[in-house]
């Protein structure tokens, strides 16, 4: 029996998928390839924040702090920003060392395989460096409160929804009100014409990595905050991310967000209906159903 709680769970899951998927759709449409290493950027963000927390705890005795009902305080904001910066740097490094040289040679299949290889290498590196066991930012068990009849959520989960909404609005403003955003949209359509317009596509590619990496880091840290941190965190999210991107329409930020919520809701609603073990398959049923009705996805446009 599906209840209001399942919808709330789906919404929260969809929000975390959304942050990762929006970054993925930007890199997919602007850099022109499916980056399978995007899941590891999510994992990387979660572990970078965890490592910084360990360092701050060891050196200065800091913890996560506490703001009201939230399980964290202002040190968490510092961790989040540092993780965004570190993950953006990681994304930039991959772009500089791996993806850009391959893109210049025009080997599209090489790019996809290289991203798969980078994903595998980074995942192994994380497991080697931090161990395969689950980790947590804090051990305290957050208390869920009833916010609507039959809906109980923790303050941290509400924070996930609010932060996701705020970041999507911020991204919308960047894409529509700034030169960088216009250039990113232009590059997703025609990189050569962007160069003819006087803007260096390589700079736009770098900023796309920074934004995609930053959003991936936020997704990783929020999953670490509300669930747990594991080396497979991003990898296991990768297939729902791609499902959300394709359902939403590659390159469409709002379409991808809608796709993420749809995938999140479908997975959450599948649990009471068919059991948790089949929830991952539901994302693909949604994918197929949407593509049959609308092949370009919810927010996609025909070329």
């Amino acid at each position: 029996m599906i209840g209001a709680q399942d919808f709330a769970n789906g919404l929260i899951l969809g929000a975390t998928i959304g942050l990762g998927a929006v970054g993925l759709t930007l890199t997919y449409s602007i850099l022109g390839f499916a980056n399978f290493a995007h899941g590891e950027l999510i994992t990387g963000g979660a572990y970078l924040a965890l490592t910084l927390l360990w360092v701050l705890t060891a050196l200065a005795g800091w913890g996560l702090g506490q703001w009201g009902a939230l399980s964290f305080g202002w040190p968490f904001v510092l961790l989040l920003v540092a993780a965004m910066a570190g993950t953006a740097a990681l994304a930039l490094g991959l772009e500089r060392v791996l993806f850009r040289p391959l893109r210049r040679r025009g080997t599209m299949i090489g790019l996809v395989i290289a991203s798969f290889g980078a994903s595998l290498a980074l995942r192994s590196l994380v497991a080697f460096a931090w161990g395969p066991e689950p980790q947590y930012y804090a051990r305290a068990i957050p208390i869920a409160r009833e916010v609507l009849p039959g809906v109980r959520v923790t303050a941290d989960q509400l924070f996930v929804l609010v932060l996701t909404a705020a970041l999507i609005v911020a991204l919308h403003l960047v894409l529509t009100r700034t030169t960088l955003g216009r250039a990113m949209r232009a590059m997703s359509e025609n990189p050569a014409l962007l160069a003819v317009t006087g803007i260096d596509p390589a700079v736009v590619a770098r900023w796309t990595c920074v934004i995609g990496g930053g959003l991936a880091a936020v997704a990783g840290v929020l999953i670490g905050l509300t669930v747990q941190i594991r080396p497979l965190l991003g990898f296991e999210l990768l297939l729902p991310l791609f499902a959300a991107v394709i359902v939403g329409g590659v390159g469409s930020v709002y379409g991808t967000l809608a796709g993420s919520l749809l995938v999140g809701l479908a997975e959450a609603l599948a649990v009471p209906l068919i059991g948790a073990e089949y929830r991952a398959a539901v994302a693909f049923l949604v994918l197929i159903a949407v593509l049959v009705v609308r092949p370009v996805g919810i927010g996609g446009t025909r070329a």
């Binding site: 030169t179 216009r182 949209r185 003819v196």
Partner: protein
């Protein structure tokens, strides 16, 4: 005659190393003139302007802009140096509005000049102001060509390269596009016009050349070219004028 803006010397360029399409082309375009680049299909006209715009690899030869060597410079740097380029196809971003096109083209300029240059384009292309909120994908072929031209003129280029601006347009629209070219010429811009429509090109051009198999074979004033028996026979459907 005004000063030389573009000098192309013995240019060899193409899409595959060792398979040049332009094979030693030499030409000059002056400030305040329209230079028509004529020739049959596959003669290398589009490749030549693509190479000058930094989009096609140059194997040898030189490209000078106002005497400065710009050979092989990156496309976005060429725009900043004063080279404007309007490709034949896909010359607008279909999902960006008219005003976003102009804002993007103005972005490399100093901040105080940006709005002045955009306003200048709305003055030169009166209709653009009415379409400013429309995405380019909703514009007609002629409207897109006007937008592409305005986009290239925003940074006030010294040299404007146009690849087949009349392709696929109705005759009345072609006339309107060519009228805007005359306006740009009056501002001192050197315009290199690649055209299949030889009659229309020679009607608006001051000088030009005929490119055959990647080399400039005939050159002269538009009147000289129009009066040339070979040009008339091959491209104008007659025996010269």
């Amino acid at each position: 005659m005004n000063g030389v803006t573009l000098t192309v010397q013995d240019l060899v360029a193409g899409y595959e190393p060792g398979l040049p399409i332009v094979r030693g082309a030499t030409l000059e375009a002056h400030a305040g003139e329209i230079f028509a680049l004529l020739g049959p299909n596959g003669s290398g006209k589009s490749t030549l302007v693509g190479a000058v715009a930094g989009l096609v690899a140059i194997e040898s030869g030189r490209v000078l802009l106002g005497g400065e060597d710009i050979t092989g410079r990156a496309t976005h740097r060429l725009v900043r140096a004063g080279v404007g380029y309007v490709p034949q196809r896909d010359n607008v971003f279909t999902r960006l509005t008219v005003e976003e096109h102009l804002a993007l083209a103005a972005a490399p300029l100093d901040r105080p000049r940006r709005s002045a240059r955009i306003d200048a384009m709305y003055d030169l292309f009166g209709d653009l102001a009415a379409w400013r909120r429309l995405v380019a994908g909703h514009l007609s072929g002629g409207q897109r060509q006007m937008l592409a031209l305005a986009r290239a003129l925003v940074p006030a280029p010294r040299l404007l390269l146009l690849d087949e601006p009349s392709a696929g347009l109705a005759p009345a629209v072609v006339d309107a596009v060519l009228a805007r070219l005359r306006g740009a010429r009056a501002l001192g811009v050197a315009i290199v016009l690649v055209e299949q429509n030889t009659r229309a090109a020679l009607a608006v051009a001051d000088r030009g050349c005929v490119l055959v198999e990647g080399r400039a074979r005939l050159s002269g004033t538009a009147n000289e070219l129009a009066g040339n028996a070979e040009v008339a026979r091959l491209y104008l459907g007659g025996a010269g004028r």
